[in-house]
Assembly symmetry: C2
Homo-oligomer: 201 residues x 2
């Protein structure tokens, strides 16, 4: 995990795997744990690669922040603000005119992907995206297995609706998802698998 | 301008037209001036309408914030952070599978739209979107004329490249853009004009 090159302009604000456990716990509650951040950086890296190679334009939505106080005497310094939950997904963009929308999730669980960390508004957003013919999926990272899968959002939504609060077993993911092989650059080249999954031309 | 109903969940953090001119100046430098915010709210309102009527999924990218300090003793309060420039555009989404990407700009200028307030990285982003067959445009609000136009990004990019730092004369915008008639709800119903402009089916 240590050989990730951070793409230019991407500054993770929790930088190093720290051993200060109380802080670490807080950050992972917010979704900024190092594990997730490493995977996020790898996806940002892939997106930068797609942009440089002129293959697609896929960007990460900034984390929404609720700003309470701004100090204009210090050149517009935000002095009180809070993290908000993303009401959509983290990533969207365009490939060959097609709208792409996905969420990248990392889990330390080896045997299943817990649905508890997908907020209901993300499910609702992805349902709307599917209805409007967008390409909607999850990239699921099993960090302890060092495996990544592209799982169509339609499958996750069906699972979510029939068995809320459950986990999707690893075996079912293997059956319904496309594996993203690990490479050198980009590390997780997910776009070709998305094209195979969704491009019906 | 006072009859705008703010869409649910949209909390402009500069709320009222204030007469404190120094502050006002600072905020409008950041793009959070009230005039711009009113127009932005009207566009958010239209997007909420499209979502409710199941016509499209178009969302605003959150303002990117560079977070410097977080106080975890107060439940993850951000205590030092700075506004960053959006490296893309403010809005993107999907209509009938098509990728949509646009920027909404408001100007008090009556005779032209100054290109100085379009950062170069936005031009570069919109060029890439066009190359990947996305629908790319600007919504331009002449606040003193109370008129809104949908201007294809391709036209703005050509203009920008041939005459950098200039302004696009109002007459040329009238000639090359589609007017968005003002209505009641949504106030600026821009989607039908985007469909007329870009949907080549």
């Amino acid at each position: 995990m240590s050989d990730i090159s951070y793409p230019k302009g991407v500054k993770p604000f929790v930088t190093k795997p720290t051993s200060k456990s109380p802080k670490k716990k807080k950050t992972s509650l917010l979704g900024f744990g190092n594990r997730g951040m490493d995977f996020e950086s790898a996806i940002n890296d892939a997106n930068l690669y797609y942009q440089e190679k002129n293959l697609a334009v896929i960007t990460k939505r900034p984390t929404p922040i609720n700003i309470v106080k701004v100090d204009y005497t210090k050149g517009a310094t935000i002095t009180q603000a809070y993290f908000e939950t993303q009401s959509t997904t983290d990533y969207n963009g365009v490939y060959d005119g097609h709208y792409i929308d996905f969420e990248a999730k990392s889990t330390r669980n080896k045997t299943s992907f817990p649905l508890a960390n997908i907020p209901p508004q993300q499910i609702a957003h992805l349902e709307r995206v599917i209805e409007h013919k967008g390409w909607a999926f999850f990239l699921i990272h099993f960090s302890l297995r060092n495996e990544v899968f592209l799982l169509p959002a339609s499958y996750v939504i069906d699972f979510y609706k029939s068995r809320p609060r459950a986990s999707i077993p690893y075996e079912e993911i293997v059956e319904h998802a496309r594996p993203i092989k690990e490479g050198f650059h980009p590390r997780y080249d997910y776009l070709p698998e998305a094209i195979k999954e969704f491009d019906k031309k």
